[in-house]
């Protein structure tokens, strides 16, 4: 399956970790994958976006209007990065505000679990539950076990589960 995914957030929110999980999931499923990330100055609390392309692409970047699934860890980035989304693409947004996207209060749920840092996994779980991604729940769980720091594995798994559970029953327009 060919899929173009982008992850938008603020430096420090776990954009890179989420990108890595998806890339490792592609490897687990024997799919070719290439990603592009932003490091350096922008990581200091600035807007960042990473790209991920599954299924035999050579270049790591996605053109505006070509993203199939776009994750927004920060709703403040909606105006800055929505132009990447395809007309028929879907955005998953960490927010309580309804809009022309799938919404989930990922940070709130993450704080309830113990740390806002796992909001990225709640959001991922939600998209996974809705079957919007190239990868299976099994692949993501395998990857979490492989790359999570030992002391964070449990909370990571929990965050993913919370997202999956919430899929399909939030007030979303689309």
């Amino acid at each position: 399956m060919r899929q173009k995914i982008a992850i938008s957030g603020i430096g420090g929110q776990g954009v890179l970790f989420l990108t890595r999980i998806l890339a490792e999931a592609a490897l687990f499923q024997n799919e070719e994958v290439i990603t592009s990330e932003i490091h350096g100055m922008a990581m200091r609390g600035g807007s960042v976006i990473s790209h991920l392309k599954v299924g035999g692409f050579r270049g790591p970047l996605i053109r505006p209007g070509e993203v199939d699934v776009l994750f927004f860890l920060e709703e403040g980035n909606l105006s800055a990065h929505s132009y990447f989304l395809k007309n028929e693409g879907v955005a998953y947004v960490n927010t309580m505000k309804p809009g022309n996207y799938r919404s989930i209060e990922a940070t709130k749920i993450a704080i309830e679990i113990g740390t806002p840092l796992v909001a990225n996994l709640v959001l991922l779980g939600y998209a996974l539950g809705e079957k919007s991604l190239f990868c299976s729940e099994e692949s993501i769980n395998f990857v979490l076990e492989k790359i999570s720091p030992r002391d964070q594995l449990k909370i990571n798994q929990r965050a993913l589960m919370m997202g999956i559970k919430r899929s399909g029953n939030t007030r979303a327009i689309r």
Partner: protein, 611 residues
């Protein structure tokens, strides 16, 4: 038999993996985006695979270059890695090493940053390869970067010449599934072969070395020609071809595939953009009517074309001369070059991105606030690092390149001193790692020439911007072992500084009083350079965060919502509550440093429970 496995590796990890798979025994670097992870990954891989290597974060790129080159002189494979502007620092060594040549394979990894995203220039290191007269590889992906390491070592050894590998940000910070070979442990005995006519050549012998170098280049160039990726089966109406190198090749390949044109136009990937075979270039000119050249960031391939009348490139402004060649730009170029029908695109509206800021609790923020409070009318030369973000706090006036701030302060002082109008206060800010890298020479020069300014060394015991590499002050080495620490205080004293204070910038009032005292010292008859070391460890280090006192902050009713703290302190954890018309603390972001209690003019930000 070698065993192997598929892994997801970042471009920089792929380069490191390539180095270790190909028997590199010494690698050195100075951190800089986008190259930093090459050496840190090497250190980790060497540890995991139990491979004996000498790896170091050198004090600057020149030192790193010379350390690695020496290992090559002794016959063993070596590499030096840095960001493109780092190569400027090591250029003196590179130019000369090209003449003397090498023995063990020697790779110079210089990572470019078209855009630019994290650099002061978007210079093209391939030009420096051309200037130094050495061959350069231009990978289009992490996989290719890894493969090219092996090819570069082989080329370097065959011709006894330094070889450059030039990845760009989009290769360094791409991740890809790629095949990793097992690592063979090998022992390469090193030996010194005395040959003063080569290793210590005087100008007369340098002439001969230059002639030899030119011959090497000619021999390399002859072999450096290409065939199109695919032979066009349904030739396009136009008899044209596309030459692409680096990540621009990957983009154009994907686009041609998307447009179903892969079999209709001759596409060449130029893997070694310099030196190119003359016959190859002449052949292109005689075969095709139009040649599109896609390369980042300067026209290196293009300038080697003798006949440029058929070339569509940067020189005739067909291709943009600055910035990254993104897939959207390349798409537009293809549409123009191939006369494709313009598809109607929905207009793109890009909202503002959030700019970067210093982290909550960052000691630099406290230093900048104190500087602005104590000496609001000063000139503020600054330098390269996280603290460049002091721009947001209006406490940074100039940023040139690594270590320049101190010389700039000195220069400003001498110019003002020529007039009778009075000399403004000058406050330099520079980080500890940058000070060791290229700041200390400026300090020695300033003292010698009787300059007067205040130098605030923002000592956070780390190289924070690039991933927290240890500084000489700590003395931790790349492999995690302990070296001999070089104390900042001792160095500064040795430079002849007579005004030296150390202070924790979290105590703003203390730093303010030192700054005022320093200003008096600078203008006193015996005055000179006043140095204040503002030391507090970087809060990105988990250990620091765990051990440092954590205050619960609150905002009292006294807050009028004037916005003074937002404007002048800019802590991400202090946010305006527009409905209450006063600020509040974002508990998720606040690390409880407590510095903000010294910031509010009304004293409305306090420690919970009072103190």
């Amino acid at each position: 038999m070698e065993q192997g496995t598929y892994k997801i590796l970042m471009g920089n990890e792929a380069i490191a993996r390539g180095l270790i798979e190909n028997g590199c025994s010494v690698a050195a670097s100075y951190p800089g985006t986008p190259a930093s992870e090459i050496l840190s990954s090497l250190a980790q891989m060497a540890k995991e695979e139990e491979v004996k290597m000498h790896l170091e974060w050198s004090i600057n790129e020149k030192a790193a270059f010379e350390i690695s080159l020496s290992n090559s002189y002794l016959g063993s494979r070596s590499a030096v890695s840095m960001k493109q502007v780092g190569l400027n620092v090591a250029l003196d060594s590179l130019m000369s090493a090209a003449y003397s040549g090498v023995r063990g394979g020697f790779i110079v990894v210089s990572a470019d940053d078209p855009g630019p995203y994290s650099s002061q220039t978007e210079q093209d290191s391939r030009f420096l390869a051309m200037f130094a007269k050495i061959p350069v590889f231009d990978p289009s992906s992490p996989q290719e970067a890894k493969e090219m390491v092996g090819e570069a070592f082989a080329l370097s050894e065959e011709f006894e010449i330094p070889v450059m590998l030039r990845p760009t940000t989009r290769v360094c910070h791409a991740r890809q599934n790629l095949f990793c070979y097992g690592i063979q442990k090998r022992d390469v005995p090193v030996s010194f072969r005395r040959d003063p006519n080569r290793w210590a050549a005087t100008p007369r012998f340098r002439y001969f070395l230059h002639r030899e170098l030119n011959k090497k280049l000619e021999r390399i160039a002859v072999k450096n020609f290409y065939l199109p990726i695919r032979k066009p089966t349904h030739p396009f109406a136009k008899n044209g071809c596309i030459l692409a190198s680096g990540v621009a090749f990957a983009h154009v390949y994907d686009l041609l595939e998307e447009l179903d044109l892969l079999d209709q136009i001759s596409l060449y990937q130029i893997k070694i953009p310099y030196p190119l075979s003359k016959e190859f270039l002449e052949d292109l000119s005689s075969t095709y009517d139009e040649i599109l050249i896609l390369e980042e960031t300067y026209p290196v391939i293009e300038l080697q074309m003798v006949d440029r009348r058929k070339v569509m490139g940067k020189l005739n402004k067909f291709v943009p001369e600055e910035g990254e060649l993104s897939p959207e730009i390349i798409r537009d170029l293809l549409v123009k070059f191939l006369n494709l029908p313009q598809e109607s695109q929905k207009p793109i509206t890009k909202g503002m991105e959030k700019g970067p800021t210093l982290c909550p609790g960052c000691p630099h923020r406290a230093s900048f606030f104190a500087i602005r409070e104590a000496l609001p009318h000063a000139i503020y030369p600054s330098d390269i690092g996280c603290y460049t973000l002091g721009l947001n706090l209006k406490a940074v006036d100039t940023v040139l390149c690594m270590g320049a701030s101190i010389n700039q302060a000195s220069g400003f002082y001498h110019s003002f001193a020529l007039q009778n109008e009075g000399i403004p206060t000058i406050v330099v800010t520079i980080g500890d790692s940058t000070f060791y890298h290229a700041g200390i020479t400026g300090l020695i020069n300033s003292v010698l020439h009787k300059a007067r300014f205040i130098l605030v060394i923002m000592d956070n015991f780390t190289t924070a911007m690039t991933g927290n590499q240890a500084t000489p002050e700590i003395g931790l080495l790349a492999d995690g072992s302990q070296g001999f620490p070089i104390r900042l205080r001792d160095l500064i004293t040795a430079c002849g500084i007579r005004f030296l204070k150390e202070v924790d910038p979290y105590s703003i009032h203390e730093l303010i009083s030192h700054l005022k005292e320093a200003e008096k010292y600078c203008s006193s008859p015996e005055g000179g350079v006043a140095v204040i070391i503002a030391n507090h460890p970087c809060v990105l280090e988990k250990k620091v965060l765990r051990e440092q006192k954590r205050y619960q902050m609150e905002v009292s009713d006294t807050c009028t919502g004037c916005g003074y703290c937002l404007e002048n302190f800019e802590c991400p954890a202090i946010i305006m509550n527009t409905s209450l018309e006063r600020v509040e603390i974002d508990k998720n972001l606040c690390i409880g440093c407590g510095v903000c209690r010294e910031v509010c003019p009304l004293g409305a930000i306090t420690i919970m429970g009072g103190q």
